[in-house]
Symmetry: C2
């Protein structure tokens, strides 16, 4: 299979982690987001939203939206499990993942930051926007873990929650967030980044890293 | 159970539809978003993100993030099904739902629009932002349905896709989007709004409607 993505795209990074955890090899095609590669007509045929990632299966089937792909991976390649078995425990993991995937990531992605800039604001204003979104969003995520056991977000194995958290922390670091209050998030990051699957997915280890 | 929400909140509207489709009665507590009710300390104890909705079960269990709650509803109350059985078909429905829930809804919610306003922009600028996000996002959603059969988003029954679409179309209408190119979206809206479950969930029929 082939991952159409970008080394710095958080949603591509989620899929790199999950595919590595599931032991599924993949090739990559890179789209430089700030050049608008993802809005070229040939790619829009694959992904009408003009976003990365898209996962292309060996039979040519195209899949979009990282969380939909993660759920499909879990349903079709159940081991190792990325969701617990109990429905309420699954809901807690998904709520954490969605708190990042809906309420942090899309509000600080390149499209939104470009839209803020197009309103006449400086790079410093844009960075302030991105830092605020990450800080407030991840402050809330830390609270969502207040009653959970570590070292991962939800216990002793990585889940969809960690898969969404780790790429977002990379962005938060890039935008200058204050990590000092994030006890559980920092613990989960350390546990994840000790695993080969997470290491192989690191942005700086991708072929298109700049 | 009790839905903590707001008549005009799109994510609350999703849950009202799904609970009605599943035949599950619920009470409501209303949070007037522009007054900041959702950021009061007592509510932040229930929902650390300070967002609606929160679903409170009869035993006091609190659930957040509408899509996580929808997946839990589907797992614990499987009939009528809101997702198809085939994994790839499920992925298509979820990708459509997430295209709205991640890439449209959060980029035009009240918090983001207030953030744009706080940068010194007018109500007209803010409305332009919201209209653009809805127009571009739903234009892409129309394309995601180009190979599907109606009258609903994915066939002859409503799914999670319709549950996310209908509240977003209500916002799109409010912000003045052009619906004329949305053949499949309009068809799905008409099919949904003919159903009693969707009718009972309409914003204007809620006790807190203004």
């Amino acid at each position: 299979m082939r991952l159409h993505g970008f080394f710095r795209s958080g949603a591509s990074y989620r899929l790199r982690i999950a595919l590595a955890l599931k032991g599924m090899p993949f090739d990559q095609t890179s789209y430089v987001l700030r050049h608008g590669d993802q809005r070229q007509p040939a790619y829009l045929e694959k992904n009408p939203q003009g976003l990365v990632p898209t996962l292309e299966l060996d039979d040519g089937t195209l899949m979009t939206q990282s969380l939909a792909i993660l759920e499909w991976l879990e349903e079709t390649h159940p081991e190792p499990a990325l969701l617990p078995k109990d429905p309420m425990a699954r809901a807690r993991v998904r709520a954490f993942a969605l708190a990042i995937a809906c309420d942090v990531h899309p509000v600080q992605n390149l499209g939104v930051l470009n839209a803020v800039k197009a309103l006449g604001h400086t790079d410093a204003d844009v960075n302030d926007w991105a830092r605020r979104v990450n800080q407030q969003g991840l402050d809330a995520c830390e609270k969502l873990l207040s009653n959970t056991k570590g070292p991962f977000c939800f216990g002793d194995k990585p889940t969809l929650a960690d898969i969404c958290l780790i790429p977002q922390l990379a962005n938060a670091r890039r935008f200058g967030c204050d990590f000092s209050g994030w006890t559980r998030l920092n613990e989960a990051e350390a546990a994840c980044n000790a695993l080969p699957a997470f290491q192989s997915a690191l942005p700086e280890r991708q072929p298109d890293a700049e």
